[in-house]
Amino acid sequence: MNLLHFVNAFFNDSARWHGADGIPQRLWEHVQYSLMALGIAGAIGLPIGLVTGHTGRGGNVLALLATAARALPSFGLLVLLTILMGLGLTPVMVPLVALAVPPMLVTTYEAVRTVDRSLVDAARGMGMSPLRVLWQVEVPVALPLILSGIRSSAIQIVSTATIAAYVSFGGLGRYIVDGLYQVDYVKVVGGATLVAALALVTLGLFWLAGRVFVSPGVRRQQR
């Protein structure tokens, strides 16, 4: 088969595994960009989602902000910022963060807001402070949904970080963009395979995180 043949040719070429344009180096760059964007987006989206979900207020404003952020075209933003600010990490990070905040923010808000009210009331009745209600009751119960929000953000970041290559950054997008201009389909398909594989690994990690961090009682309830 055509596609498999390309994949084979890409990974069997031993030259691909060394140097600045080697697979380990490009993979590491990709992981770095992705983690950085996810970290920044999480630092923005999660606290806001937790607080607004806890108070149950501001849902309309959040929905509006999320729609506005989604409406920003990532690729266009990347090119525009590069033109305005020159080459640098900021033009790459801004679109990725703008892409990743809405799913996290909206899901966290919804997850915390829809925690069973009787649980929250019971916790309050036991004399828990609002902060303890949030940390010890709402977050653990809402965790599966919160994780699913972070997961869709992470996957979008991993697959979109490829466009960083268009403004001469590294990462796995290098293979796709370079391959496109060099009409080297082996390179393109190889790069795509690597990105998809990285996204699948990300999926797997979140599944694992769900097994480890979600309390068994909450997990049983979900089924």
Partner: protein, 212 residues
Amino acid sequence: MGGFFRIPSDLQHSYLGLVGWHLQEALIPVLFGLLIALPLGQLCARYRWLYAPMLGITTVFYALPSLAFFVVLIDYTGLSDTTVEIPLTVYSLVVLIPAIIDGVRSVPEETNAAATAMGFGPVRRYLQVDLPIAVPAIFAGLRVATVSSISLVSVGALIGNEGALGNLLADANFYHRPILAWSSVVTTAVLAILIDGLLVLLRRLLTPWAVR
């Protein structure tokens, strides 16, 4: 502001022409996505064990970067709108299928029972009871799918002028006219917000009984 609406002639489109093309490339996939997702969602709602594998498969497709997806498809569909539209259709499924399942599940058991008791057959019950009640949930998914689709079309510019408004980005670089990049980004964002507003309006028209 001079160059905002003045499009370089190599794009062979006027400003409004680009807008129309962009909308076409963005909305056709969502429409196809909806047509595919409706029966699939119904199937998943009836046979619950189907849901997990279905979600798994669509998520894997979602993980494919759009650029790579486009490039691989060039071999099969050439440099055409279809090459952009197929991946966007697949992406929309990831959002639409769960939304439709949510919607179908939000139909109360008693409502279904009442419809059956009134002599509704399965098809009529689906069209006149299930679907209308599912509208708010379906529209929630439809809004996300539409807005991301409009934003993603621009990436098509990378495979050779298949990105409608995104094509302006390459020209902004070639001709050193940043205004073209502004034009591309601002127009795309405004389009997305306008269409999102239209969908909200449409949902209100379709669910006159809903509490505001």
